[in-house]
């Protein structure tokens, strides 16, 4: 299941319609000519990418797959991943950037996907827990370490913990237990599995260091 292809449902038809609408409406709204659309704009003012009530098309990569999908300008990356791309690993905990359950990587850096406007990931590479396992299907060392150290109870925060933990090691912030605790403080575990989490990261940091 974790290797599920994250391609969105077929939206090619919606896309065609929506692009025409987008063209027509934004051209009308700004007074710009249709001929200028899609080329480098000579006019100084950029055309709106989305008007109220309209969707915008966003192109980005998720776990190595190219995605082109329509999003509401209000949508968070988290909602697009979960509701449109059926990638439900990243969790909605607080929806305000306070709990870390929604952590994913954008261009190799961990972010709170609930506070990331989907419109802002245009052209970027997103990595979620579903894309973390290795090419042969085996678990990432951090996933294995969480199992080995019993680093969870209910598991709700775990995808966010693991994505944050992988970044924590890659950033070079896992050199001691104190440093791990400091740089993992954005991920809350209400079951209190912190002891196992720190042990798992310390362990996986060694394995990952060999990469």
């Amino acid at each position: 299941m974790s290797e599920q292809d994250p391609s969105p449902r077929d939206r090619s038809n919606d896309l065609a319609i929506s692009r025409r609408d987008a063209l027509r409406i934004s051209a009308a709204a700004t007074g710009a000519s249709l001929a200028g659309f899609g080329k480098t704009m000579a006019a100084a003012q950029p055309m709106p990418v989305a008007l109220p009530g309209m969707s915008l098309t966003v192109h980005f990569q998720v776990n190595g797959n190219h995605i082109e999908t329509l999003v509401d300008p209000r949508a968070s990356l988290l909602d697009v991943l979960r509701e449109q791309l059926a990638l439900t690993g990243a969790k909605k905990g607080c929806d305000h950037g306070q709990c870390g359950a929604c952590t994913v990587h954008v261009d190799g850096r961990r972010v709170a996907s609930c506070l990331t406007l989907a419109a802002k990931v245009e052209g970027r590479q997103v990595l979620t827990i579903e894309g973390l396992s290795l090419e042969d299907g085996s678990l990432h060392p951090m996933q294995q370490a969480f199992i080995d150290h019993d680093a969870l109870q209910c598991g709700y925060c775990t995808p966010g913990q693991i994505m944050a933990a992988v970044a924590c090691v890659q950033e070079g912030h896992a050199s001691s237990d104190a440093e791990i605790r400091e740089y993992m403080s954005g991920n809350i575990c209400r079951c209190g599995a912190y002891v196992g989490i720190v042990a798992a990261i310390r362990d996986a940091a060694v394995t990952m260091g060999g990469d």
Partner: protein, 331 residues
Amino acid sequence: MQTFTYSRARSINELRAVQAATGDRILAGGTTLYDLMKLRIETPDRLVDVTGIAGLDEIISHPDELVFGALVTMSDAAAHPAVLQRAPVLAEALSKAASQQLRNMATLGGNLLQRTRCAYFRNGTEYPCNKRTPGSGCAALEGLDRGHALFGGSGSCIAVYPGDWAVALVALDAVVDVRGSRGTHTIDVASLHRLPGDTPHVETVLEPDEMILNIRVPVGRLAQASTYHKIRDRESYAFALVSAAVALELEEGFVRQARIALGGVATRPWRVPAAEAGLTGRRLDRATALEVGRMTFADARPGRHNGFKIALGAEAVADALMIAAQRSENR
């Protein structure tokens, strides 16, 4: 959440054109604005995303000055070798704020403009709040004020300015270069934020169409012997109960110059010149540091639940002074 028009500016000129035509709100990292839009406290009709503007994501280390582009992320600035070495108070203020996830998103310019964490402001229309709805009153004045200001409050608002980075910048006499319809001009970070007075909803001196381009910080001996000491309810990932940004220039154990600014206890970043003057010329030891720490809070006006911050803050300032003194010796 109310829907909105979303644009992307790829240059300052494009931003200027958008601002002139339609007056869009500027969106950078979004960690404050998008959060408050979800709470329906911010309701912009139009947003222009500035994170694609080139040339504002660099840190330049000049002999006498560090220059930070406004779109540098908090995490990049916190880890920058020149910042760590030449102005540790800045690196510490950044790395002790938020979480690494948010520091990877939030920009240095946006960070300065973050809005208060006052629960009455954030929790919506159930409570009056002059900052959220001008003229509606202030629930904190008679309410749970443990997190509210001891300095700079008014009869309209006692909400704390929650940031750390601005407090460190104020201690080092930093300035921001700002661009808007009035052209490009420079503002002291110390004058960027307004006291609440009768208009707590007007938080800075910036015009709606103005954007911070750069943050410039003078650096020398003073900045090098500096620290940001932050006391929180939990050890990490929390706003300050009280924080002290301190910088020292010592000459054979005697204080030639001192800078002391407070966070978590005031309605804006709070420099304390009287305490700085009280320390100048004196030999620094722990007893002197604590005396100056107490001096720092001499004018505090506590409410009902935040009086404990006077003693806590005096100790925090004292500890910060001793850490900075250590760094002066090790220089």
